[in-house]
């Protein structure tokens, strides 16, 4: 190819140079994406430290000059710690319930001889397609009748209904990648069926379980629709609902909202950061 056209010129460059330029371009794209993703989070963090009277000054001080913890103090004066506790219980409940049910169900779907199980497994995904608002109103009526309205167990159960379909489908897929011969060999060696599942299949399915728990945690931690309908008294509120209470009739307390949001976001960072090394370790384990 001749060097007359730009493409021709490009291919005449040494491979090393081309690779370098290519890498820089990739990094540039990555950087742009990162800025777009991280800027709102930074803005949230910055705003939470800005004194309330400066919030609406133009131009907006993107870097707090005289940082203050005023907003945090104001937030802590509310029931935020109680809501925090509720959120942790709620998320932990949803994650546990989803992971356990999805693992057992996914294993059953992958391994047991159930008629029409493929059709069933695919139909499960329909459950995920319902918007929460559509589910939560019948749930409200139903939950009230069985007396678990306005309680954390009740809302955990309801939220699990939205996280479980996809999780179950994911675990079904995941167990299909674990060779059956591992369990068969365990069976011949002397394991009972449950032992073969628990000691052989389960460790190999760990990456899938972690993916499911991250997914259900993300849904539960940020859930709003179902809790807002099923939790009526503010002593049972989760953080997302508490956050909304900072919007008052005639004003929005931006500083406090941002401070509370920061508190809300922090645990997700730690949760995912802690589990990501397990994901990598899990992937190593499945490769032989």
């Amino acid at each position: 190819m001749s060097a007359d056209t730009p493409i021709g010129y490009w291919y005449q460059l040494p491979y090393q140079t081309r690779k370098k330029v290519y890498n820089w371009l990739l990094n540039l794209v990555l950087a742009v994406g990162l800025v777009i993703v991280l800027f709102p989070i930074y803005w949230m963090l910055a705003t939470s430290f800005i004194p309330p009277e400066q919030l609406f000054s133009v131009p907006n001080p993107l870097v707090p000059t005289n940082a203050t913890l005023e907003s945090y103090v104001a937030v802590l004066e509310t029931d935020v710690l109680l809501w925090y506790k509720n959120t942790v219980i709620f998320a932990a409940g949803v994650v546990t319930l989803t992971t356990v049910a999805a693992t057992l169900g996914g294993y059953g779907l992958a391994r047991l001889d159930i008629p029409y199980k493929k059709t069933f497994a695919r139909v499960i995904l329909f459950g995920y397609m319902f918007p929460p608002i559509l589910l939560s109103i019948p749930m409200f009526i139903f939950w009230r009748q069985i007396g678990i309205i306005n309680s954390l167990p009740g809302v955990i159960l309801a939220q699990t209904a939205t996280t479980l379909p996809f999780s179950l489908w994911l675990m079904w897929q995941f167990f299909q990648t674990v060779p059956y011969s591992y369990e068969e060999s365990a069976r011949v060696i002397g394991c009972s069926r449950f032992q073969a599942f628990y000691e052989v299949a389960l460790p190999l399915a760990k990456p899938g379980m972690i993916a499911v728990s991250i997914f259900s945690f993300a849904i539960a931690w940020g859930a709003y629709t179902i809790p807002t309908i099923l939790l009526t008294s503010n002593s049972k509120w989760v953080l997302t609902l508490g956050l909304y209470s900072f919007t008052q009739a005639e004003s929005v307390l931006w500083g406090q909202i941002m401070a509370a949001s920061t508190l809300l976001v922090l645990p997700t960072f730690f949760f995912v950061y802690y589990l990501q090394k397990y994901i990598l370790r899990g992937f190593r384990a499945t490769r032989i």
């Binding site: 011969s181 068969e184 365990a186 011949v188 394991c191 032989i288």
Partner: protein, 377 residues
Amino acid sequence: MTIVVNSLRKTYTAGATEHLAVDGIDLEIGPDEFFTLVGPSGCGKSTTLRCIAGLETPTSGQILVDDEDVTDTAPNKRGLAMMFQDIALYPHMNVIDNIAYPLKVRGIDKEERYERAREVADLMQIPELLKKYPGELSGGQRQRTAIARTIVYDPRAFLMDEPLSDLDAQLKVEIRKEIQRVHERAEKPTVYVTHDQSEALSMSDRIAVMNDGNIMGVGTPDELYEEPENTFVAGFIGNPSMNFIPGTVTDRSNGLVTVEAYGEEFELELTDGVQEDDAVEIGIRPERVNVVSDTEAGRFTGRLELIERVGDRRLATVDVPDGEIRALNLRERGLQQGEDVSVVFDTNDIHLFDGKTGDAIKHPVTYSKRGEAAQLD
């Protein structure tokens, strides 16, 4: 210790169609016998083994281990050991835990099970690998670990489902020896499944050749090679496989039968079993066939299609009217591909099969009785 299989039948239902995998077979595997099931893919050999192991439930029939009916016994209660094609070492356990796992399942305390795991690891010559994970082992080391895991708990019998098929040729020979060493040491029945007839011939005490869910022939390697029951066994055992030439019985008198094929007449010593005008198949092993460039000298003439080297010998393929004849017993140097040649063999080496049923009618006097070594491959 014996394993007996009585009229074992296994069908799979896939939607509306029923697939017959094993069609009522009977087997008897004696104590400390090395028994091989061999056959082409999909012949039901693996299904049979999996029924013995308890991983499949027979549709009908009976499986006895040591005269005890285990047909409906769970696999973990049968006390057998099985090796799988993909080895199935647990990737999340290191080698010593893998080997000791059967003992752990049996509730043996940690010290004793590690002690015994070390003993069998020594036996399999892998003591230095105990702390490694299966992902870090080579193919041969994985096989050795898998064998160690099967012998550590002293099972009643060994079942092996094509354990060597993923190994390269050299490693195959090495692990094959290990398996035989373990078998001899354990003095337990071993049921071995393979699609490789040469593996079956070299390892087994007895072999069952299977096809389409049926057993086509059972016998020692010598019996199957020298006196195959039918054309299927004759064609499956031996490599390259036996030549078959369709013929017709033209005359039958004085204890002699004349068979005509491609216009050539063969006189065979035979008193009964065939009538005049019966269709028959003449079987002749390539190891007993020579090819010469003198077109007048031999039985059939044809074009020498291909000449290739197989180990220390040359294999010639000659085109004849209805197919081809493979010859492995070449004496003449300087044969050229594409030239017209004739095929030479001794009438004494002919196997005769029924042309319709494929059942054997006559075999040559066995090579061993004639004082010649059987040319197994």
